[in-house]
């Protein structure tokens, strides 16, 4: 990939990467950081990455960066959540969602990797192989996770009262 190609494509890839990251992590600043690191990483390896692989590279690097930062944040967050959970009136209400909100809610219960796979499959239209390369998984893992993600998501939607909605 040339610098010109990078300049041409990276803004659009960055949007896609941010969209993808936000699916995995609700914190926009964290997502933007991850995207930025991914862009930086691609820039540094520009000459070694084929332009056609640029977007998967960005998405993969974003995901890895995000997972790295999430792992660091998880301990602190779980501690804070534990404290918050013991406070009165802080339980999240499961009622009153519209379908879109319900879907978002149901996604949040999924592991990050499953959310990432759903995003890559549904939104980016990636093949199992492309998802596997992006997330550094095997094809079989991708398919199993995808299956589990959809099942879990549907179950969650049902629990929110969306029995018949698609």
């Amino acid at each position: 990939m040339t610098a010109k190609e990078y300049t041409l494509h990276s803004p659009r890839w960055a949007d896609d990467a941010l969209r993808f990251a936000l699916r995995c992590c609700p914190s926009r600043p964290d997502c933007e950081d991850a995207v930025q690191e991914a862009l930086a990483s691609l820039w540094q390896r520009c000459s070694h990455v084929d332009c056609a692989k640029g977007k998967p590279y960005i998405l993969g690097a974003t995901y890895r960066s995000l997972m790295h930062s999430l792992r660091h944040a998880r301990v602190e967050r779980s501690h804070a959540d534990a404290i918050r959970a013991n406070l009165p009136g802080t339980q999240e209400a499961d009622e009153g969602f519209d379908l879109r909100e319900a879907i978002e809610h149901s996604l949040r219960v999924l592991p990050e990797v499953q959310r990432a796979i759903l995003q890559l499959r549904d939104v980016e239209g990636y093949s199992y192989r492309e998802i596997a390369e992006t997330l550094e998984l095997s094809d079989s893992q991708v398919q199993v996770y995808l299956f589990r993600a959809r099942v879990a998501m549907r179950k969650q939607l049902k629990s929110l009262g969306y029995d018949n909605d698609r």
Partner: protein
């Protein structure tokens, strides 16, 4: 693929549900297995009922559009410095061109191996009209220029270099939207300023009167090379700063206090870009 069993049935069901099983034997095997596993039938139904995610087009990286403002001309301010500036131009460009050769892919325009230090080590220190008390330094120093550069004049008068480096936050400097330069005091007695105190300012792209220390702006314009652009980044980490939609790339290398600035793309005359993604505070 091996035969369907309790350990791999999810794989099979997904392919079955997606119509990816082409062999009649495989399809029959799945259906036979399903007939003996009602729980799996339910899972398959859930899978099929699950909604597909949709693209959210509202999501944009660095979503805020970058302001475009006319570049303020400096020529009226030049006066007696015009001639000197022309000399500076002549001195600087070869150095910059040499530095540019450092990278085959993206020219390296400026490199300051010593970092930018405060106080007397700055080549570019000059009180100037309208900028009294300001100490500014030029990118040219980082580019290896050897001649003293009268900062604001050089910057202002060299079309290829309407930019400066400041050695500190410019929060207190009188920079207003549309102003061309910003600078900060550089205490003469101050020791070497950490590389991550550097901030680049340039043609202001509608910047607030006070520029956050964590803000960086475009630092360079080089019409002689086709109106190119380079930027300076936040620092502290070897991080390429992506801003203006990925059009600016630069980095400060903390290990050696080096500053690298690279051309990324042509800069359109009359337009400034503001770096919008610099989270980490400087100092």
């Amino acid at each position: 693929m091996t035969t369907i069993d309790d350990t791999n049935y999810e794989l099979w069901l997904l392919r079955y549900a997606e119509g990816e099983l082409v062999s009649a034997e495989e399809i029959a095997a799945v259906e036979q297995w399903l007939s003996a596993h009602p729980d799996a039938v339910e899972e398959l139904a859930l899978y099929r009922e699950a909604p597909r995610l949709e693209r959210d087009e509202s999501v944009r990286f660095a979503a805020a559009p970058l302001p475009e403002v006319p570049v303020r001309t400096f020529w009226p301010l030049l006066g007696r410095w015009a001639a000197a500036a022309a000399v500076v131009t002549a001195l600087m460009l070869p150095a910059l061109r040499t530095a540019r050769m450092d990278s085959a892919e993206v020219p390296l325009l400026a490199r300051g191996e010593q970092g930018i230090e405060g106080g007397g080590r700055l080549d570019c220190r000059e009180e100037t009209d309208g900028m009294e008390g300001m100490d500014v330094i030029g990118v040219a120093r980082a580019a290896g220029a050897t001649s003293p550069i009268r900062s604001i004049n050089a910057v202002a008068s060299v079309p290829a270099m309407r930019s400066i480096l400041s050695t500190d936050s410019v929060a207190s400097s009188p920079v207003a939207p549309g102003d061309a330069l910003a600078a900060a005091d550089v205490p003469a007695a101050e020791a070497a300023i950490p590389v991550n105190s550097l901030i680049a300012v340039s043609e202001k792209a509608g910047a607030e009167p006070s520029i956050e220390a964590s803000t960086a702006l475009i630092a360079f314009e080089a019409p002689d090379w086709g109106d190119r652009l380079l930027a300076l980044s936040e620092a502290g980490h070897e991080t390429l700063s992506q801003s203006a939609g990925g059009r600016l790339v630069s980095r400060l290398l903390p290990d050696s206090r080096r500053l690298e600035v690279r051309i990324v793309e042509p800069l359109r005359e009359g337009i400034s870009y503001a770096a919008s993604k610099f989270k980490k505070p400087i100092l």
